[in-house]
Amino acid sequence: MAQGRALKILLVEDNDVDVKIASRAFAGSQYESRLHAVSDGEEALSFLLRTGRYANLDPETVFVPDLILLDINLPKMDGFAVLKLIKTDKRTNRIPVIMLTTSNNERDIDESYSLGAASYIQKSVSFEEFINQLNGFNFYWRFVSTLPGWHTT
């Protein structure tokens, strides 16, 4: 929980351009971070619960993320379904989830919040804007995580 510790992020995103963008955004941030990207909900849960191909791997590789960035438009299981599963499983529901959306569609926003997402970020066309949004949350997390009682196991 020290200022110096790297922010561990699980990115659930099927579009590899968007993965590159997110990686680069975090890499360029003044705060250190470790990012692991998965391309669908099944893999995400597998990673979080250390099952399937993530079973029996060392905790450094399969870390418990401080933050989950979850794209709404995923193949097979859509983002909301994954969000629901994460938030209803005791083992994972403490991890804050930020939804990635492509538009400011009210429906998506409402749905995200009602299922327990912490916030949402619009995958903007402009890279700068994307960074601004991420930094905002980055800063917020850095602050909140120093508060007593904040769990990050």
Partner: protein, 494 residues
Amino acid sequence: MSVIESFFQVQSAAAWHEIVEYGVSVGLILLIVSIAFIYNISNIRKLRRILKSAEGFEKAANHNLPHVIGFNGLSTEIENIVAHCKDLGEKVALKNEELLRDRKALERQKREVDRVNLELEQILSTAAGGIRLVDRDFNVLLTNDTFDGLVGIGKDEIMGSKCYEVSRTSFCHTPRCPLTRILGGEERIRTEIDVLDHLDKQVPCLMTATPFRGFRGELIGMIQDFEDISELKSAEEAAKQRACELEKVNKELDSFVYSASHDLRAPLRAISSFATFMEEDLGDRLDAVGSGHLSEIRKGVDRMNRLIEDLLVLSRVSRIKNPYEKVDMQLLIDGIKERLNFDIQKNNVDFRIQGRMPVIECDRIKFEMVFQNLINNAIKFSSKVEGRVPLVDVGYEDHGDSHAFYVRDNGIGIAKQYHDQIFAIFKRLHTEKEYEGTGAGLTIVKRIVDDHGGRVWVDSDLAQGATFYFEIPKNLVPSAVPLKGEAVAAPIVH
């Protein structure tokens, strides 16, 4: 001497005695007779008169009144009798007249009854509804042809039968039985009910039942009117199905547009982001020209993104009907002013709301979009004029059967020949360099106003500023059932 001579000789003495006796008797008799005769002459006259009066009676009897026969004593009697007879005759005549009138009246009444019966007969038979009259004991007293046709049973079979036997309904023997309810005191029942026809098929009907009363107002039974609504019901079903289909299509279209926009944007992100990465990574190897190109690439992508956004908005504007609510226009415009506050402050715009804004029951989100687009345009176009304080006025006018709003600016104005063009999609009168924007704002405004049955127009001239008016009819009726959860957020459209 003859017998006669001898008769006379013998008889002579005695004869003269006898002759005298005879003569005296005859004479006496004659005397009596003549006295009687003389006495009766007057009576003969009377007799004559009696005869005359008898004639008079006859005449009187034959209505040849008056016929006064006057003679003393007897005449008075006869007078009285005649008078009485006259009287009687008059009374009889009067009575006759009365009887005649009565008979005529009765005939008239009978004709009237016949006429009313005929009317009733025709009304009943041409009535669109099936009519049935039932008494307290469930006996069917009367039905019209339509009812017979409805149940497909002959009148002779229905008449006199129990209403729950031959012409049953879905409410028979239940607490909803209309007769039971009418007998229980209800005055009028109107309900949907199924009538079972002779094939036991259910015919959906709209039934009205009212009490049937006698002359003293006592409850005799019930009158029912059955309106066959099977066509209405199937039309209703069809309409419901169509509405369902429409909603499905709308949802599909919406989903399609959403996916399309999502899929169209992913490559845009790639283009823009990698242009940025190029700038960042190769910045030192790129000269101003190279940087310029990258910048243009990013601008192009931005523009494309905005066009997609506008198309998304435009496509949803007509399809999605938000539920109507009471909207205080003052608050709505205040909200927009706040949202555009940055631009207002930056350009030092004098923003005013003229007069009192009404409270209207309407689609709040759509109206927000209209005002936001118009006000945004007004700010944009009034802010670039040199040496003038940009002025934006928003006002309301009551146009009788419609509400009218206007947004006025003191910007560069619009030449008259372009007044229609500006509402077309993506049609712009300026380059991006001069004024940014996609040209979809006014299209969206026009689409929304048109959808509400109103109209939008502009009053402007080059260098004369511009006033955009839009009129909405007052009796706004919310149209089709809105798609749930599909409220369109009001984006700022440039």
